[in-house]
Symmetry: C2
Subunit: 357 residues, 2 copies
């Protein structure tokens, strides 16, 4: 049986789980009510809030939806002992911003996972790491399909080996954080199509394709490549139901409304500068000013995720308050030029029309 049928979808579209507030209950429910899979990006959310949000979504839709968590060890979630980089410290003092760091850089994954066992949803997806076979089994026992997120073929095999129902192959085109965990996948991030081909060469686990997909034609393309579902994130960021700030939304729409010629510094890029982990977002002053501290091929000398994420939070909170897009993380995929200001329903309808054309 196809993944679409197993989950109970009527179209092959997954709305990407984007942590940080973009995926409101309204957004998720609108996607699910259109026959796709709405998904809550819950990785950075407190366990009790995840539970509340699941219940909110359920009040808005009776259709299946998913929740995504970020796999972190207890030590990673509770340690904030790496020294802040000098240049970041200097930024804070130059701009008179209080460095108000949390006690813990992340919520406990084990507690977040427990919410999904106690209050089961149709799909639980995971990024940043892999869970164990018992955890997969426990989720499946409560009726939840388990989806891993990978950037490398051998990460897909690892999820297949522990009995996951599918993996989301996330190409380098994708916005936001890369979902895999192997350093190998960060050295030369694979483009979506070749990631699909190489993954299919070594495992037959069902695939969900993510990265740069913005049109029905692109969905048909990945289906033809042998993928069951297409996952779109950036396309949903500029919908009316998206929870991102007006500053962030305007920055995305500004790219879409530009004439393709104002791109000498690139539109998006992969960076570690916001969180310590590779993620793709719009190029802004922060990324350009501190580009020399960004680490791609080299050994990563930045504080690891989630520590750097916690350290840049005061800057992002201040920028948010000021409406300053130049110091916000403006996560977006390479397809960002094609975003539109529209309702979820209109986006879904457009995609379905293109799919059926």
């Amino acid at each position: 049986m196809s993944l679409m049928n197993t989950i109970g979808l009527t179209c092959p579209i997954v709305q990407a789980p984007m942590a940080g507030g973009a995926t409101t209950p309204e957004l998720i429910a609108a996607v699910s009510n259109s026959g796709g899979l709405g998904s809550l990006g819950a990785g950075m959310t407190a366990p009790e809030v995840i539970n509340t949000q699941i219940n909110q979504i359920r009040r808005l839709t009776s259709r299946p939806f998913g929740v995504n968590l970020m796999v972190l060890s207890a030590a990673e979630s509770t340690t904030l002992d790496t020294p802040m980089p000098d240049w970041l410290q200097a930024y804070y003092s130059d701009n008179a911003i209080d460095i108000d760091l949390p006690d813990n850089p992340a919520h406990l994954f084990s507690q977040q996972l427990q919410v999904l066992l106690d209050n089961p949803v149709a799909v639980a997806s995971f990024t940043f790491g892999i869970i164990n076979e018992q955890q997969v089994k426990a989720l499946q026992d409560v009726g939840t399909k388990v989806v891993g997120t990978v950037n490398h073929p051998i990460e897909a095999c690892a999820w297949a080996d522990i009995g996951a129902d599918a993996v989301c192959v996330q190409g380098m085109e994708a916005g936001g954080h890369r979902g895999g965990w192997l350093a190998a996948s960060e050295q030369d991030p694979l483009g979506l199509l070749t990631l699909i081909s190489q993954t299919q060469a070594i495992t037959d686990i069902p695939l969900i394709a993510a990265g740069g997909i913005m049109t029905g034609k692109a969905i048909k393309a990945v289906q033809q490549a042998g993928v069951e579902l297409a996952q779109l994130g950036t396309a949903f960021l500029t919908t009316n139901e998206s929870g991102i700030s007006p500053t962030y939304k305007n920055a995305l729409l500004q790219v879409a409304n530009s004439d393709y010629t104002d791109t000498d510094s690139g539109v998006t890029r992969l960076t570690r500068l916001f969180s310590g982990k590779l993620a793709r977002g719009l190029v802004n002053d922060y990324l350009q000013t501190y580009a020399k501290y960004d680490c791609l091929y080299d050994n990563n000398t930045l504080p690891p995720y989630p520590q750097l994420n916690a350290m840049t939070k005061p800057m992002r909170a201040n920028a948010s308050k000021l409406g300053d897009a130049e110091h916000l993380s403006l996560w977006a995929g390479q397809g960002v030029r094609l975003v539109q200001a529209e309702s979820v329903q209109s986006l879904m309808q457009r995609l379905l029309n293109e799919l059926n054309a």
Copy 2:
């Protein structure tokens, strides 16, 4: 009429024009005799030799084939005045290699182009720049289809504006040099699928897709995305008819025969270190040792193409003599894991079987 019919192909496969000796007359003829478009990578070849090779190919096939040239100004082709980087100079003296530089770093484009006007072929394709409207017209007047190579949607529009018959959209997955010329496309190289979507959004010039395509499924995928032909390069490098050295061929096959786990430093990467222009190849000692001098996001401080290409030639020639893969440019795309040692006929048959499956 479709591009396939216009050119006179019986299958939607273009063999990428790879300069430097890979595309032997035998390779090109075998592709064209299988119904695809064989292509000579002639950018680094002297005009009179291009003429000879065209005649050699014609003796082996009566089917259409293409020739690719690299667009350089006369000044770029004849200037070698940038100082050699200190680290490269040091490499030469440490390894007692004579620095025997040519008078000119490249052949004259105008003379190469004249060959194609005097001895016309089915398709003339261009990389590294754009020609003018009169040159397009002159080629079309002798019965040649003109194809530009682009990495950015606005480069595609530029070719459409001067009446080119098609453009090859080359995704970041592609091996070898990037065919575009805008700095914008180098700051954040676009993945193939999103490059296709974004190009289609602003021009309807027929597209040829290149970058990471290794299977019939991937060819079907890009066709579904709205592309007429798929261009494969890396897949042809390990064929019996390919002209690359045994050292280079073995390095590619070694990756294909590895178990996907030996990839901590990545398999391929984009680099400027060999030629001054961004190109994708296997990671080897040279790329790793001098990684800190490579320029991606930063302003490029390396000597420009083709000057650095000329400066690294003594190193590559020496490595070639010694069978040392660690100091050769091992151009390869992200799909390199899927190469096989086989004949062109067997590769073409496999692709066609997958295409028709």
